[in-house]
Subunit: 227 residues, 2 copies
């Protein structure tokens, strides 16, 4: 590529990253508001989450289109190509996080129709961990920081432990008092949605490690140097 074309490519790549960060910020905010709506039993806030997925969906389409244009116009190689393919995948993950925020809001709305089962502590904790994982994973992408990506992978165990703990506790409530069955089911679903948000952050972190080092850390495989 000529110097001019290289400069243009790098500028476009920066713009792409900025849009992904923006999308990540929106998805994270949706998760935060959905869980806040759940805890505060705030139907107006929950309703706002349910109708706020449009900006994320527009960005999803725009980012995909930017990725295609970048590959088609600049025919990037090595780490540049891996960055753009990573962006395509991260884009999909972020869009799913937006969908999961909607799923959380839907369950929160049903939950608000019943008396509260318990004071919610672990679910907001799960939400905080999942949001941090997502933010760190995107930071790792933008800065090509594999150490930070590795940190995201470790945080996933914490989320998994909390999910199991929440399940056991709610099961006890359900067995003792059948009137808690319906609302407790919604809390269990919400904890699983939060776990899946952590899984998406994990996907992003794995993509970052592959992008930087061409090393595939998925499926605990041995090192796989790229061609």
């Amino acid at each position: 590529m000529s110097t001019e074309r290289v400069r243009h490519f790098q500028e476009e790549l920066e713009r792409l990253k900025a849009r992904l960060l923006e999308m990540g910020g929106l998805a994270e905010e949706q998760v935060r508001l959905a869980v806040q709506g759940l805890v505060q039993r705030d139907r107006a806030l929950i309703a706002r989450v349910l109708t706020s997925d449009h900006p994320i969906n527009s960005l999803h389409i725009e980012i995909d289109s930017r990725c295609f244009t970048l590959i088609a116009l600049h025919q990037p190689m090595a780490v540049d190509l891996r960055s753009i393919v990573a962006a395509v995948k991260i884009n999909t993950d972020l869009e799913r996080v937006g969908d999961l925020a909607i799923n959380i809001a839907e369950a929160a709305l049903r939950y608000a129709n019943h008396p509260p089962v318990k004071r919610l502590i672990d679910i907001p904790n799960m939400a905080t961990i999942a949001q941090t994982m997502l933010r760190d994973a995107l930071d790792a992408f933008v800065k090509r920081d594999t150490a930070l990506a590795q940190q995201v992978l470790s945080a996933d165990d914490e989320l998994d432990a909390l999910k199991t703990q929440i399940f056991r506790e709610l099961l006890t409530y359900m067995l003792q008092d059948p009137t808690t069955i319906e609302p407790a089911l919604d809390l269990i679903l919400i904890s699983r949605h939060l776990e899946r948000i952590g899984d998406h952050a994990t996907n992003v972190a794995e993509d970052v490690i592959f992008m930087v080092s061409a090393r595939d850390v998925r499926h605990h495989s041995a090192d796989q140097p790229s061609k």
Copy 2:
């Protein structure tokens, strides 16, 4: 591209498609066996599913690597580029289907520790629909058949209706008899895993429509012709 290079590219693209079909077949088989293990309370079969994810995971890494090589060596444009980026995404979806089969098997193993809650009819039905959606979506990819892809999108509603019906029925059981709470919870989780398999088939179908027509059907957006 020279004629020779075009021929080589098309051959490699066919090989890529064949590997994706193979992976789809493996994922579908894992789902089928997991649900069969659930229905027949066959622990040996369930155990086999739990330890059989290795071939899918190897294919996941191999297919990703084929996609990178194809883009880097041949710098494809238009529908060819869209096909390869679609393959990257479909690869991710199929790997998740494999993971979901494992999740179903894990829940089936727990379910086998309790007396059966009911005769299972709707869950095997959901599994059949989800498997058909997956197979049709991959066929649509290989044949670039948007009509078939559209059919996959329609089938998703059926899956959703069955999931809601299963939930309502199991909730009734749980409210009437607390000893059914734990096993019924696993059936509810399994129905959600099957619903997600349908979601992955839907993703594949949407990618096929975009690949063929450069029209983005996600988020019910207006037509978006590509450049």
